[in-house]
Symmetry: C2
Subunit: 178 residues, 2 copies
């Protein structure tokens, strides 16, 4: 069950590391960018979990109402022999009618791995397996985070299936709802 | 089997991305640092796999004959919604008697996840499980890399068990042997 290991690795190797620093980095960002992230509800890492595992390198490719803006101050840590390994988050500007909203949002990177595995002939991993594992990844991650006291209140998991119709602004609406 | 997913994620989310760029980045490094990596045998990413999963953030902590030196030129890619995510490698200076050797080396970070899981009470993951999964991680990764044409000749897997005696320079000797 690939997803089980991916969820633990994503928590222990990433969220457990970056989420405790998030408040400070948002403080630094607000001082540099005129308090764009003023509402405390936005002081969270919004993690997108599309069950299709169709992931874009820039959220603007999924929805033109989402534009990449600025970055949070970089987090630099010595890790596993790599000096100053860098952890970055992008702050996106999300249009809602005429109003601009700002949000720290990214896709859950392990879903990229699931997608790539379903396309590598050596992985013996079908699209059916991929959907199953994407759902298991979400359930396992949610369970881990609920028990993780050091991450409480710092994240938002946004799991969804893409709409079948031609809803061009589905993603921005989905994020703003959360 | 946690290790199976970790090995695939390490290949697909990291090695498959960084290894094809390695030659170019070494070229850039050599121009900036007077050809320190002249021997073509060193034009590889040396990946340390201690079966104990005991991993240091700086290799110098494991062996005082290893000193962190400089970095390869950074690789910056838009990935999963994070703009300009950064991939770094540290070039270490390894002393052998009086001779200085230079080498791109780091620990396999998924072993850090295995270690952390064996210490998280919610993971239900014993030290015995951890050793088993570390071995499975190595075997799975080796199999994947052997079939990966885009990574051929760009890496060296160095798997080892720490010596029981007080061999202070075990790691530097192990790396130089490879
Ligand atoms: N969005 C995001 N930004 C990050 O900076 C980041 N760093 C890690 N992760 C995800 O967390 C989990 C744990 O990471 P770990 O480092 O143990 O494994 C990593 C690590 O062993 C290796 N790797 C990836 N990026 C780097 C890197 N920059 N330097 C060294 N190793 C790396 O390849 C594995 C898979 O990486 P991703 O497939 O990008 O997703 C990881 C993983 O799901 C990140 N996710």
């Amino acid at each position: 069950n690939v997803a089980h290991g991916l969820a633990w690795s994503y928590y222990i190797g990433y969220l457990k590391i970056v989420l405790p620093y998030l408040k400070d980095r948002i403080g630094g960002f607000n001082r540099a960018h005129n308090n764009l992230l003023k509402c405390k509800e936005t002081w969270k890492l919004h993690i997108l979990l599309p069950l299709s595992c169709e992931i874009h390198s820039d959220l603007g490719e999924a929805d033109s109402n989402i534009r990449s803006g600025m970055d949070l101050p970089e987090l630099s840590l010595d890790r596993g022999g790599t000096k100053r390994r860098s952890y970055k988050h992008t702050v996106y500007e999300i249009l809602d009618e005429d109003k601009k909203n700002y949000c720290i949002v990214e896709y859950a990177t392990p879903l990229l791995s699931l997608h790539a595995m379903s396309q590598d002939e050596n992985a013996a991993f079908s699209r059916q397996d991929r959907l199953e594992q994407a759902k298991l990844f979400y359930r396992t991650l949610e369970g881990i985070l609920q028990r993780a006291t050091d991450c409480a209140g710092c994240y938002r998991l946004i799991v969804y299936e893409e709409p079948r119709d031609d809803n061009k602004h589905f993603l921005s609406k989905e994020i703003l709802q959360h």
